[in-house]
């Protein structure tokens, strides 16, 4: 306690005490409200103990964020600058590969169809 008091600023403490209400503080209204306080705390404890409640509370908190993040990812994927070129390139490669595979059984990717190769031979 001596340690605690040594940390305290005496002037600030005196100021806080001086600013306090001067008369006795009435607590009768708090006493009157006690049954409702006890009921409310019991209700909150029940809520805290019910997993369905906190799961739904967490869902309410996180679902909008997940939805927003997903929407951002979708928009970013659609608007990504290199995306169209990549698709075209793949499509061209695929066409080339299919054409050479039909004509001589060898694709541009190096793969060979053994059946077609035997027929051509």
């Amino acid at each position: 306690m001596t340690d605690r008091r040594s940390r305290v600023d005496g002037a600030v403490r005196r100021a806080l005490l001086r600013a306090s209400p001067l008369g006795d503080v009435e607590v009768e209204r708090l006493v009157t409200a006690l049954p409702s306080m006890l009921r409310e705390s019991a209700r909150r404890r029940r809520l805290a103990a019910d997993p369905a409640i906190w799961i739904s509370a967490a869902a309410f908190q996180w679902l909008p964020r997940l939805a927003a993040a997903t929407a951002l990812l979708v928009v970013a994927a659609i608007l990504w600058p290199g995306r169209g070129i990549t698709v075209d390139a793949v499509a061209n490669d695929q066409t080339t590969s299919f054409g050479s595979w039909v004509s001589d059984g060898v694709s541009t990717e190096g793969g060979t169809d053994p059946v077609l190769a035997a027929l051509v031979e």
């Binding site: 940390r7 001086r18 006493v31 006690l34 306080m37």
Partner: protein, 187 residues
């Protein structure tokens, strides 16, 4: 280290009240309600009885709901919860608590001084000075300089870091001293 019997009694009362014991709850309210209201007033910088009672009710409900137990003085623990609730209430309402005129004009429900006199001018001056601090600065000063909490305990009570509370305490003390010295010079 053995606990003083009074503290043990308070803890037993708290546990009984959590189990729905009206009588234990009433003793707690009568024992600590007034000091909790004073804490709420000090942190809010407003001396309205109904607002302070709302804060204290929220504090009591939180103390009865949580599974956490006070590590020492039950009264100090209840007052630290009250300080936190007062801050939460101020944040929610987004009131401008730094206006000193609001404090003077909003003294409804404040208990009158003995002799029926109004609030003395020097007390109003100190309240004005405190009202010029932010609510969180007032909460730090109340917990550290009035309740004697350590910086870490105060930080835990108001949901901040120890470093932030230390910095706030130094700054708020300096600011309060400057304001009070300025008001003394004006008198």
């Amino acid at each position: 280290m053995s606990q003083p019997s009074g503290e043990r009694d308070d803890l037993a009362l708290l546990l009984a009240a959590r189990n729905g014991d009206d009588e234990a709850g009433e003793i707690l309210v009568r024992r600590f309600g007034a000091s909790m209201i004073r804490t709420a007033w000090s942190v809010m910088g407003r001396y309205s009885a109904s607002e302070a009672e709302d804060v204290v009710q929220e504090g009591f409900i939180a103390a009865l709901t949580t599974a956490a137990l006070p590590q020492g003085d039950v009264g100090a623990w209840l007052r630290s919860i009250t300080a936190r609730k007062a801050l939460d209430g101020l944040r929610q309402r987004k009131r401008r608590v730094e206006d000193p005129l609001e404090v003077i004009g909003d003294a409804q429900g404040e208990p009158a001084a003995s002799g029926g006199l109004g609030v003395p001018l020097d007390v109003l001056g100190v309240r004005q000075a405190l009202a010029r601090l932010s609510a969180i600065d007032r909460a730090v000063l109340v917990l550290v300089d009035l309740e004697g909490f350590s910086m870490a305990e105060a930080a835990n009570a108001i949901g901040s870091t120890t470093m932030a509370v230390k910095w706030r305490a130094v700054r708020a003390r300096r600011k309060l001293r400057v304001i009070l010295e300025g008001s003394d010079d004006n008198d």
